[in-house]
């Protein structure tokens, strides 16, 4: 049995839940694969923290899959248990640091959304170099891009940034799922043409 855990975090309205749904559907058509993972969306009003977990399980054979002691369905990822972390907001990346281990791959978005506490002048927003150096204390596999800007430039809208980030995940990590599995899901969904293009852009980052 092999596991591959992905934590996806960001803010309400950024398309975090959609990313999780796409990644889960990508595992669906394989028999010896299972997938689960919960979403934190309660109180996810604008600017609230949102996270979704995608947990792939690859079984060696049927009997392993039916062994209750190997049948993993915890909806959560444990501390240090993520193979990959995608964050669509720089500060929130640090809130996701608990999921990381020395081999984790981190992909994060550079565009900040300033929280109310910073707006009120009570705290200050960490600079990107600080975020990167904190992450580097845990893992060296850190990749960051301005997904907001890329999405705006290529699509004149911010809505594609989540799918671009998914493409980047495939480019930068050893995720044991084929990009074509994601492309098949995107091709069937809403806005297929743009999403496929966005995924392709991410793959080439």
């Amino acid at each position: 049995m092999k596991k591959f855990n992905i934590a996806i975090i960001g803010l309400g309205g950024q398309g975090i839940i959609t990313m999780g749904t796409v990644m889960k559907n990508a595992a669906l058509s394989f028999d010896l694969r299972d997938v689960s993972g919960s979403e934190r969306r309660g109180g996810a009003q604008r600017e609230g923290y949102v996270e979704t977990f995608v947990k792939y399980i690859f079984y060696e054979n049927k009997s392993e899959m039916n062994d209750p002691r190997k049948n993993m369905h915890s909806p959560m990822i444990e501390s240090g248990g993520a193979n990959a972390l995608i964050s669509l907001e720089p500060l929130e990346t640090l809130r996701g640091i608990r999921y990381l281990n020395k081999d984790s791959v981190v992909i994060f978005n550079e565009t900040p959304y300033i929280p109310i506490s910073v707006r009120m002048g009570k705290t200050s927003y960490p600079e990107i170099p600080f975020i990167v150096s904190e992450l580097q204390n845990v893992t060296k596999n850190i990749f960051y891009y301005d997904f907001d800007r890329i999405s705006l430039e290529k699509f004149k809208s911010l809505t594609q940034k989540n799918i671009i980030a998914l493409g980047a995940l495939f480019a930068k990590s050893d995720i044991p799922i084929e990009p074509s599995a994601v492309e098949n899901i995107l091709a069937e969904g809403k806005g297929a043409e743009e999403n496929l293009r966005a995924f392709e852009i991410g793959l080439n980052l």
Partner: protein
């Protein structure tokens, strides 16, 4: 759900990624329900929402978003007594309101199967408490099933209807938010023939009438039925024992926590102990637990919240003469969510076996860092009328959130989107508990503290839930209070279910029986009642100031539709070839030269569409309205004291000389 609508058409052999709540609804559909209702509440809302959304494709299905949980559970009982299987759903605190019908349900029993799906919320990410509703069953005697994954969420729900009918109990299907909002693979089963669903109420005075001796007889009957159910559960398929090797240690768990436990064992490399997985956590048969105890010295109960299983199992250990030790809450936190980390830590402490190095390192790193990070809390959407309401209230009482002075007006909070007003920067609530506590507690404060004015807030859905008698009570007892009804026409926070205030659906279709709220309030005996558009912040603040000078019960209705619904309707009307109501375009912008950064828009109003931008010199910065997020509500324009914000209007038709038809395409 996936691409095609498997939720309604799926048959045995189909597989899809499904949300926990949808799996519960699908299980009910496979069991052939004809009735489904709820008062919306996170995390349970999608259970009924997905049925309601699809009911036009489903034969003989009645759905209802009831005005409160008391009504909703009674509706399910009425359907059951008519011979129709019924599903009722609610969030954890909903059962407080529905506890009365729940209490009587065991006395009367059911006719067709009845399942009550409860979305509990450990850690309270979307609730005002984290009560564990399982304790209710110690006196309602409702059996409790706890699925631990998506597949069980469906299968247990389907089977719960059979158990309900066989033992004549309403069955509770308990799902914490971690399961409600877990999305994973589901294998479908077959659907029942829906043409057979038909109501036929048969009188059953022996069970349905409860008075004096009749009630006592029914009390005895359900205790007997409970014993029969216990017997059935001794070796049912729902409770499973996983045998270990020669270990004398056993673990008992249920639901999502069982899933955490299995994974925690795998992470810690522990595989040799006996495990009891409980599908039914109430009632617990002594023989089942006694059988599990055999050969064990130590039993560890792994569960969330305050130890409902531990309470029952320790009693059974005493009654069955178990000589070993039973552990539980010594190792697992009784408050907050019990996360997979908590289970790993608890098991690791119990065996004195350290968790993986990467786990300890991550926990330490996280602890170190979190204190340094700015907190983030949710806030109102851009253009939300509630933002304007809170701004107006704070202005009317002369309070600024950047000053350190105490606000001397008491603001009573209540449940809904507007609850977010208690967070910074508004800090505009002094207490928050349950539905309609605001006015009810506020009324007494207004009587006993004459030095402070009291403002109570309520949303339209919460008002209709149980606020009408609260308002009538305040009027009848001469309270001195300002009651502001934030009427946005929807139960917005739970995914926009209709309320009696809803005038038009998002496809533009008018509601069947929209209520005139002002008339209702008047008819309750309130003479001071005014309706105001909350986005007219200056008028609204003046109105509040004026109302606070009057005595008695004053009601202000802050009426403006939830901006998300307004935008959705406009989009859907445009897409369906309807005429756009706007022929012009406009945008709001801050003129850098006039803005003195007084913070009226950026901090006091705190609209997230107004952002801080770095100048080209990368040193100084300025305020800027982000056109990608601005919805043009115009409130910032109204609050700016320096006229630095301007509205730029341009008529696209004139600019581009377009016809009416091509204009719609361009927009």
């Amino acid at each position: 759900m996936g691409k095609s609508n498997l939720f309604i058409n799926g048959i045995k052999g189909d597989k899809a990624i499904v949300l926990g709540n949808e799996a519960i609804a699908r299980g009910a559909l496979e069991a052939g329900i004809g009735y489904a209702s709820m008062y919306p509440g996170t995390p349970a809302s999608e259970i009924i929402a997905v049925l309601d959304k699809n009911k036009k494709y489903i034969e003989n299905l009645y759905t209802e978003f009831s005005l409160n949980e008391h009504i909703s559970l009674h509706g399910a009982i009425g359907a059951s007594w008519s011979g129709v299987r019924s599903l009722c759903a609610m969030k954890n605190v909903g059962l407080n309101v529905a506890s009365e019908p729940a209490q009587f349900l065991s006395y009367t029993g059911v006719k067709a199967g009845l399942v009550l799906a409860i979305g509990s919320d450990p850690g309270a990410p979307s609730s005002s408490n984290e009560q564990d509703d399982r304790w209710y069953s110690l006196h309602t005697y409702m059996p409790i099933m706890e699925p631990s994954n998506i597949q069980e969420a469906k299968d247990f729900t389907r089977d719960a209807f059979d158990v309900s009918e066989e033992f004549s109990f309403g069955v509770v299907l308990m799902a914490p938010s971690r399961l409600c909002h877990n999305a994973g693979a589901l294998y479908f089963g077959d659907l029942k023939d829906r043409m057979e669903i038909k109501g036929d109420f048969k009188k059953d005075p022996e069970n349905y009438l409860n008075l004096f001796g009749m009630a006592v007889r029914n009390h005895a009957k359900y205790l007997e039925r409970n014993e029969l159910l216990k017997k059935y559960l001794i070796d049912s398929k729902f409770n499973k024992i996983i045998n270990g090797s020669s270990s004398k240690i056993g673990f008992i768990s249920s639901g999502v926590i069982y899933a955490h436990l299995i994974e925690a064992f795998d992470i810690l490399g522990i595989y040799d102990h006996k495990i009891l997985k409980l599908g039914f956590t109430f009632p617990l048969p002594n023989e089942l637990i006694k059988g599990f105890f055999k050969g064990l010295d130590k039993v560890v109960i792994v569960e969330e919240a305050e130890g409902f299983l531990e309470f029952q199992i320790k009693k059974i250990a005493y009654e069955t003469g178990f000589k070993g030790a039973v552990y539980g809450k010594e190792y697992f936190n009784p408050t907050g969510e019990l996360t997979i980390d908590d289970v790993i830590s608890g098991i690791s402490r119990f065996f004195e076996k350290p968790p993986p190095v990467s786990f300890d390192f991550a926990v330490k790193k996280d602890k170190e860092l979190q204190a340094k990070l700015p907190q983030r809390s949710g806030t109102f959407c851009v253009g939300c009328p509630h933002r304007a309401t809170f701004y107006s209230i704070l202005k009317a009482v002369g309070f600024s959130n950047t000053e350190e002075k105490e606000r001397d007006v008491v603001i009573a909070g209540d449940i809904g989107c507007y609850t977010l007003g208690l967070l910074p920067p508004y800090n505009a609530m002094d207490f928050l508990t349950c539905m309609n506590a605001g006015l009810e507690i506020g009324q007494a404060i207004s009587i006993f503290d004459k030095n402070k004015k009291v403002i109570a807030l309520v949303g339209d859905s919460t008002f209709y839930h149980s606020g009408v008698p609260a308002l009538l009570n305040a009027v009848q007892n001469g309270a001195d209070i300002l009651y502001i009804i934030l009427d946005n026409s929807w139960t917005a926070m739970t995914g926009h279910q209709k309320t009696p205030s809803t005038q038009k659906d998002i496809d533009g279709k008018p509601s069947q029986n929209p209520l005139n709220l002002k008339d209702l309030v008047k008819s309750l005996g309130v003479s001071y009642v005014k309706t105001i558009d909350p986005n007219s912040v200056k008028r609204f603040a003046a109105l509040i100031k004026g109302a606070l000078k009057e005595s008695g019960v004053k009601v202000l209705i802050a009426k403006r539709e939830c901006v998300l619904q307004e935008i959705r309707r406009n989009k859907s009307l445009n897409k369906n070839g309807g005429r756009s109501t706007e022929t012009g375009e406009s945008l709001y912008e801050i003129q850098k030269s006039r803005c003195v950064k007084c913070n009226e828009c950026f901090v006091e109003l705190a609209c997230p569409a107004i952002i801080l931008k770095k100048d080209e010199d990368k040193v100084s910065d300025y305020y800027y309205i982000d056109p990608a997020s601005c919805v043009k509500c115009g409130v910032c324009y109204a609050v700016c004291p320096n006229s630095a914000i301007r509205k730029v209007e341009f008529d696209l038709r004139n600019e581009f000389k377009l016809s009416d038809k091509s204009l719609q395409i361009t927009i």
